[in-house]
Symmetry: C2
Subunit: 165 residues, 2 copies
Amino acid sequence: MADPFGIRPGEIAVDLPENFDAGLYYIGRIRTPWKSREECPKNARESDAICTIEVDARWASALQGVETCSHLLVLYWMHEARRDLVLQSPRHYNEQRGSFALRSPVRPNPIAASVVKLLRIEGTKLSVAGLDCLDGTPLLDLKPYFASTDAVPDAVVGWHAEIKR
Amino acid sequence: MADPFGIRPGEIAVDLPENFDAGLYYIGRIRTPWKSREECPKNARESDAICTIEVDARWASALQGVETCSHLLVLYWMHEARRDLVLQSPRHYNEQRGSFALRSPVRPNPIAASVVKLLRIEGTKLSVAGLDCLDGTPLLDLKPYFASTDAVPDAVVGWHAEIKR
Protein backbone atom coordinates (compact mmCIF):
# COMPACT_ATOMS: atom_id res chain seq x y z
CA MET A 1 0.00 0.00 0.00
CA ALA A 2 2.29 2.77 -1.22
CA ASP A 3 -0.67 5.04 -1.75
CA PRO A 4 -3.24 4.30 0.98
CA PHE A 5 -4.89 7.70 0.86
CA GLY A 6 -4.97 8.23 -2.86
CA ILE A 7 -2.11 10.72 -2.95
CA ARG A 8 -0.25 10.85 -6.26
CA PRO A 9 3.46 11.69 -6.68
CA GLY A 10 4.00 15.41 -6.08
CA GLU A 11 0.84 15.84 -4.04
CA ILE A 12 1.13 17.36 -0.58
CA ALA A 13 -1.29 17.03 2.35
CA VAL A 14 -1.39 19.19 5.47
CA ASP A 15 -2.85 18.56 8.93
CA LEU A 16 -6.42 19.80 9.06
CA PRO A 17 -7.46 22.20 11.85
CA GLU A 18 -8.73 20.41 14.95
CA ASN A 19 -12.19 22.00 14.93
CA PHE A 20 -14.69 23.35 12.49
CA ASP A 21 -15.41 27.09 12.59
CA ALA A 22 -18.97 27.07 11.22
CA GLY A 23 -21.73 24.64 10.27
CA LEU A 24 -23.67 23.98 7.08
CA TYR A 25 -27.21 22.77 6.51
CA TYR A 26 -27.95 20.58 3.52
CA ILE A 27 -30.97 22.32 2.00
CA GLY A 28 -31.76 19.77 -0.68
CA ARG A 29 -30.25 17.27 -3.09
CA ILE A 30 -29.10 17.33 -6.69
CA ARG A 31 -30.29 14.54 -8.98
CA THR A 32 -27.98 13.75 -11.89
CA PRO A 33 -27.41 10.80 -14.25
CA TRP A 34 -23.95 10.10 -12.69
CA LYS A 35 -23.64 7.48 -9.94
CA SER A 36 -19.84 7.40 -9.60
CA ARG A 37 -17.05 9.93 -9.88
CA GLU A 38 -15.69 8.16 -12.96
CA GLU A 39 -18.97 8.75 -14.80
CA CYS A 40 -19.10 12.48 -14.06
CA PRO A 41 -18.23 14.80 -16.95
CA LYS A 42 -14.90 16.61 -16.47
CA ASN A 43 -16.78 19.88 -16.42
CA ALA A 44 -20.34 20.94 -16.93
CA ARG A 45 -19.82 22.21 -20.47
CA GLU A 46 -19.01 18.65 -21.55
CA SER A 47 -22.61 17.63 -20.92
CA ASP A 48 -26.00 18.99 -21.76
CA ALA A 49 -27.72 16.60 -19.34
CA ILE A 50 -30.76 18.03 -17.59
CA CYS A 51 -30.39 17.65 -13.83
CA THR A 52 -32.91 18.23 -11.06
CA ILE A 53 -32.33 20.31 -7.96
CA GLU A 54 -34.68 19.19 -5.19
CA VAL A 55 -35.07 21.83 -2.49
CA ASP A 56 -36.27 20.67 0.95
CA ALA A 57 -39.86 21.65 1.79
CA ARG A 58 -38.65 23.78 4.70
CA TRP A 59 -37.12 26.27 2.22
CA ALA A 60 -39.91 26.26 -0.38
CA SER A 61 -40.88 29.91 0.14
CA ALA A 62 -37.28 30.99 -0.44
CA LEU A 63 -37.78 30.11 -4.12
CA GLN A 64 -40.21 33.00 -4.70
CA GLY A 65 -38.88 35.07 -7.60
CA VAL A 66 -36.31 32.49 -8.69
CA GLU A 67 -38.50 31.66 -11.69
CA THR A 68 -37.62 35.06 -13.21
CA CYS A 69 -33.92 34.15 -13.41
CA SER A 70 -32.44 32.77 -16.62
CA HIS A 71 -29.37 31.46 -14.77
CA LEU A 72 -28.50 30.56 -11.18
CA LEU A 73 -25.31 30.16 -9.22
CA VAL A 74 -25.57 26.81 -7.45
CA LEU A 75 -23.42 26.01 -4.42
CA TYR A 76 -23.18 22.37 -3.42
CA TRP A 77 -21.12 20.15 -1.17
CA MET A 78 -18.68 17.66 -2.68
CA HIS A 79 -19.13 15.30 0.21
CA GLU A 80 -16.77 12.59 -1.05
CA ALA A 81 -13.73 14.82 -1.41
CA ARG A 82 -10.75 14.79 0.93
CA ARG A 83 -9.89 18.22 2.32
CA ASP A 84 -6.22 18.16 3.24
CA LEU A 85 -4.37 18.45 -0.09
CA VAL A 86 -2.64 21.75 -0.86
CA LEU A 87 -0.78 20.60 -3.97
CA GLN A 88 -2.48 18.32 -6.47
CA SER A 89 -1.49 16.49 -9.64
CA PRO A 90 -4.72 16.04 -11.55
CA ARG A 91 -4.62 13.03 -13.84
CA HIS A 92 -5.33 15.06 -16.97
CA TYR A 93 -2.54 17.61 -16.37
CA ASN A 94 1.14 16.80 -16.03
CA GLU A 95 2.13 19.25 -13.33
CA GLN A 96 1.35 19.83 -9.67
CA ARG A 97 -0.75 22.86 -8.86
CA GLY A 98 -2.19 24.48 -5.75
CA SER A 99 -5.74 23.57 -4.76
CA PHE A 100 -6.80 27.23 -5.06
CA ALA A 101 -5.61 27.27 -8.69
CA LEU A 102 -7.83 24.26 -9.51
CA ARG A 103 -11.57 23.59 -9.61
CA SER A 104 -10.97 20.09 -8.20
CA PRO A 105 -13.42 18.95 -5.49
CA VAL A 106 -10.40 18.42 -3.23
CA ARG A 107 -9.97 21.62 -1.16
CA PRO A 108 -10.24 22.65 2.51
CA ASN A 109 -13.95 23.45 2.10
CA PRO A 110 -15.29 21.30 -0.74
CA ILE A 111 -17.93 23.77 -1.89
CA ALA A 112 -18.57 23.73 -5.63
CA ALA A 113 -19.94 26.72 -7.49
CA SER A 114 -21.63 26.13 -10.86
CA VAL A 115 -23.59 28.41 -13.14
CA VAL A 116 -26.71 26.66 -14.44
CA LYS A 117 -29.38 27.54 -16.95
CA LEU A 118 -32.79 27.37 -15.31
CA LEU A 119 -35.22 25.46 -17.53
CA ARG A 120 -38.28 24.96 -15.33
CA ILE A 121 -39.52 25.07 -11.74
CA GLU A 122 -42.28 22.76 -10.49
CA GLY A 123 -42.91 23.23 -6.79
CA THR A 124 -39.54 22.71 -5.12
CA LYS A 125 -37.96 20.93 -8.11
CA LEU A 126 -35.78 22.90 -10.50
CA SER A 127 -34.75 21.49 -13.88
CA VAL A 128 -31.37 22.88 -14.87
CA ALA A 129 -28.54 22.41 -17.35
CA GLY A 130 -24.90 22.90 -16.45
CA LEU A 131 -24.08 20.53 -13.57
CA ASP A 132 -21.45 17.79 -13.48
CA CYS A 133 -21.80 16.36 -9.97
CA LEU A 134 -22.68 12.99 -8.48
CA ASP A 135 -26.31 11.97 -8.07
CA GLY A 136 -27.41 12.76 -4.51
CA THR A 137 -24.98 15.65 -4.01
CA PRO A 138 -26.07 17.89 -1.09
CA LEU A 139 -27.30 21.35 -2.04
CA LEU A 140 -26.03 24.38 -0.07
CA ASP A 141 -27.38 27.48 -1.80
CA LEU A 142 -29.06 28.96 -4.85
CA LYS A 143 -28.35 32.52 -5.96
CA PRO A 144 -29.58 34.66 -8.84
CA TYR A 145 -26.78 35.05 -11.42
CA PHE A 146 -26.22 38.74 -12.17
CA ALA A 147 -24.28 39.23 -15.41
CA SER A 148 -23.31 42.72 -14.21
CA THR A 149 -21.18 41.36 -11.36
CA ASP A 150 -20.74 37.63 -12.09
CA ALA A 151 -19.79 37.61 -15.78
CA VAL A 152 -16.19 38.43 -16.75
CA PRO A 153 -15.91 37.10 -20.31
CA ASP A 154 -12.27 38.16 -20.75
CA ALA A 155 -10.96 36.51 -17.58
CA VAL A 156 -7.88 34.33 -18.10
CA VAL A 157 -6.49 31.35 -16.20
CA GLY A 158 -2.89 31.58 -17.36
CA TRP A 159 -1.70 28.07 -16.58
CA HIS A 160 -4.71 26.59 -18.36
CA ALA A 161 -4.36 28.83 -21.41
CA GLU A 162 -0.74 27.68 -21.80
CA ILE A 163 -1.74 24.03 -21.78
CA LYS A 164 -4.25 24.59 -24.55
CA ARG A 165 -1.74 26.37 -26.77
CA MET B 1 -40.40 45.51 20.99
CA ALA B 2 -42.50 44.89 17.90
CA ASP B 3 -39.46 43.79 15.95
CA PRO B 4 -37.06 42.06 18.35
CA PHE B 5 -35.29 39.98 15.72
CA GLY B 6 -35.04 42.50 12.93
CA ILE B 7 -37.84 41.02 10.83
CA ARG B 8 -39.59 43.55 8.58
CA PRO B 9 -43.25 43.42 7.55
CA GLY B 10 -43.74 40.64 5.00
CA GLU B 11 -40.64 38.73 6.04
CA ILE B 12 -41.01 35.08 7.01
CA ALA B 13 -38.70 32.97 9.18
CA VAL B 14 -38.68 29.17 9.48
CA ASP B 15 -37.35 26.85 12.17
CA LEU B 16 -33.77 25.91 11.41
CA PRO B 17 -32.80 22.22 11.32
CA GLU B 18 -31.63 20.91 14.70
CA ASN B 19 -28.18 19.88 13.56
CA PHE B 20 -25.55 20.89 11.07
CA ASP B 21 -24.77 18.46 8.26
CA ALA B 22 -21.17 19.48 7.54
CA GLY B 23 -18.44 21.71 8.93
CA LEU B 24 -16.39 24.56 7.51
CA TYR B 25 -12.85 25.70 8.21
CA TYR B 26 -12.05 29.38 8.06
CA ILE B 27 -8.94 29.42 5.86
CA GLY B 28 -8.11 33.11 6.20
CA ARG B 29 -9.56 36.58 6.59
CA ILE B 30 -10.59 39.37 4.25
CA ARG B 31 -9.37 42.88 5.03
CA THR B 32 -11.59 45.67 3.73
CA PRO B 33 -12.12 49.36 4.52
CA TRP B 34 -15.63 48.67 5.93
CA LYS B 35 -16.08 48.18 9.69
CA SER B 36 -19.90 48.02 9.83
CA ARG B 37 -22.65 46.70 7.59
CA GLU B 38 -23.92 50.23 6.98
CA GLU B 39 -20.58 51.24 5.48
CA CYS B 40 -20.38 48.32 3.04
CA PRO B 41 -21.14 49.12 -0.60
CA LYS B 42 -24.45 47.66 -1.81
CA ASN B 43 -22.53 45.55 -4.26
CA ALA B 44 -18.93 45.21 -5.30
CA ARG B 45 -19.32 47.19 -8.52
CA GLU B 46 -20.11 50.28 -6.44
CA SER B 47 -16.58 50.36 -5.13
CA ASP B 48 -13.11 50.09 -6.60
CA ALA B 49 -11.53 49.68 -3.18
CA ILE B 50 -8.55 47.37 -3.08
CA CYS B 51 -9.03 44.69 -0.45
CA THR B 52 -6.61 42.13 0.94
CA ILE B 53 -7.25 38.42 1.24
CA GLU B 54 -5.03 36.92 3.93
CA VAL B 55 -4.70 33.15 3.57
CA ASP B 56 -3.64 31.20 6.67
CA ALA B 57 -0.05 29.88 6.56
CA ARG B 58 -1.34 26.28 6.69
CA TRP B 59 -2.74 26.67 3.16
CA ALA B 60 0.13 28.66 1.62
CA SER B 61 1.15 25.95 -0.86
CA ALA B 62 -2.40 25.79 -2.19
CA LEU B 63 -1.80 29.20 -3.80
CA GLN B 64 0.69 27.79 -6.32
CA GLY B 65 -0.50 28.76 -9.79
CA VAL B 66 -3.08 31.28 -8.56
CA GLU B 67 -0.80 34.10 -9.71
CA THR B 68 -1.56 33.17 -13.33
CA CYS B 69 -5.28 33.96 -12.89
CA SER B 70 -6.67 37.35 -13.88
CA HIS B 71 -9.81 36.78 -11.81
CA LEU B 72 -10.81 34.56 -8.89
CA LEU B 73 -14.07 33.35 -7.47
CA VAL B 74 -13.93 34.07 -3.73
CA LEU B 75 -16.21 32.24 -1.29
CA TYR B 76 -16.55 33.74 2.16
CA TRP B 77 -18.73 33.42 5.23
CA MET B 78 -21.15 36.19 6.14
CA HIS B 79 -20.83 35.43 9.82
CA GLU B 80 -23.18 38.16 11.04
CA ALA B 81 -26.19 37.08 8.98
CA ARG B 82 -29.25 35.33 10.37
CA ARG B 83 -30.09 32.10 8.56
CA ASP B 84 -33.79 31.48 9.04
CA LEU B 85 -35.52 33.92 6.66
CA VAL B 86 -37.16 32.48 3.56
CA LEU B 87 -38.94 35.67 2.44
CA GLN B 88 -37.20 39.01 2.71
CA SER B 89 -38.12 42.64 2.11
CA PRO B 90 -34.81 44.38 1.39
CA ARG B 91 -34.92 48.05 2.31
CA HIS B 92 -34.05 49.21 -1.21
CA TYR B 93 -36.83 47.18 -2.92
CA ASN B 94 -40.52 47.46 -2.21
CA GLU B 95 -41.54 43.85 -2.47
CA GLN B 96 -40.89 40.61 -0.62
CA ARG B 97 -38.76 38.04 -2.39
CA GLY B 98 -37.40 34.58 -1.67
CA SER B 99 -33.91 34.33 -0.20
CA PHE B 100 -32.78 32.24 -3.20
CA ALA B 101 -33.83 35.08 -5.55
CA LEU B 102 -31.63 37.56 -3.65
CA ARG B 103 -27.90 37.99 -3.05
CA SER B 104 -28.63 39.10 0.52
CA PRO B 105 -26.28 37.65 3.19
CA VAL B 106 -29.39 36.29 4.92
CA ARG B 107 -29.84 32.67 3.72
CA PRO B 108 -29.66 29.17 5.21
CA ASN B 109 -25.94 28.92 4.47
CA PRO B 110 -24.54 32.46 4.41
CA ILE B 111 -21.81 31.77 1.85
CA ALA B 112 -21.05 34.70 -0.44
CA ALA B 113 -19.56 34.24 -3.90
CA SER B 114 -17.77 37.20 -5.48
CA VAL B 115 -15.70 37.52 -8.62
CA VAL B 116 -12.57 39.58 -7.97
CA LYS B 117 -9.79 40.94 -10.13
CA LEU B 118 -6.44 39.72 -8.84
CA LEU B 119 -3.98 42.59 -8.66
CA ARG B 120 -1.01 41.14 -6.80
CA ILE B 121 0.12 38.26 -4.58
CA GLU B 122 2.78 38.69 -1.92
CA GLY B 123 3.33 35.51 0.06
CA THR B 124 -0.11 34.59 1.40
CA LYS B 125 -1.64 38.05 0.86
CA LEU B 126 -3.69 38.72 -2.25
CA SER B 127 -4.62 42.26 -3.31
CA VAL B 128 -7.94 42.20 -5.14
CA ALA B 129 -10.69 44.48 -6.42
CA GLY B 130 -14.37 43.54 -6.35
CA LEU B 131 -15.32 42.80 -2.74
CA ASP B 132 -18.00 44.49 -0.65
CA CYS B 133 -17.79 42.65 2.69
CA LEU B 134 -16.99 43.58 6.28
CA ASP B 135 -13.41 43.85 7.45
CA GLY B 136 -12.43 40.56 9.10
CA THR B 137 -14.82 38.40 7.08
CA PRO B 138 -13.80 34.70 7.22
CA LEU B 139 -12.48 33.25 3.96
CA LEU B 140 -13.77 29.85 2.80
CA ASP B 141 -12.32 29.21 -0.66
CA LEU B 142 -10.50 30.64 -3.66
CA LYS B 143 -11.12 29.27 -7.14
CA PRO B 144 -9.76 30.15 -10.58
CA TYR B 145 -12.46 31.95 -12.59
CA PHE B 146 -12.94 30.25 -15.95
CA ALA B 147 -14.75 32.49 -18.44
CA SER B 148 -15.71 29.39 -20.44
CA THR B 149 -17.95 28.06 -17.67
CA ASP B 150 -18.43 30.96 -15.23
CA ALA B 151 -19.25 33.86 -17.57
CA VAL B 152 -22.80 34.17 -18.93
CA PRO B 153 -22.99 37.78 -20.14
CA ASP B 154 -26.59 37.51 -21.36
CA ALA B 155 -28.04 36.09 -18.12
CA VAL B 156 -31.14 37.92 -16.86
CA VAL B 157 -32.65 38.35 -13.39
CA GLY B 158 -36.19 39.16 -14.44
CA TRP B 159 -37.46 40.79 -11.24
CA HIS B 160 -34.43 43.05 -11.12
CA ALA B 161 -34.64 44.03 -14.78
CA GLU B 162 -38.26 45.11 -14.23
CA ILE B 163 -37.30 47.38 -11.34
CA LYS B 164 -34.66 49.12 -13.39
CA ARG B 165 -37.07 49.82 -16.27
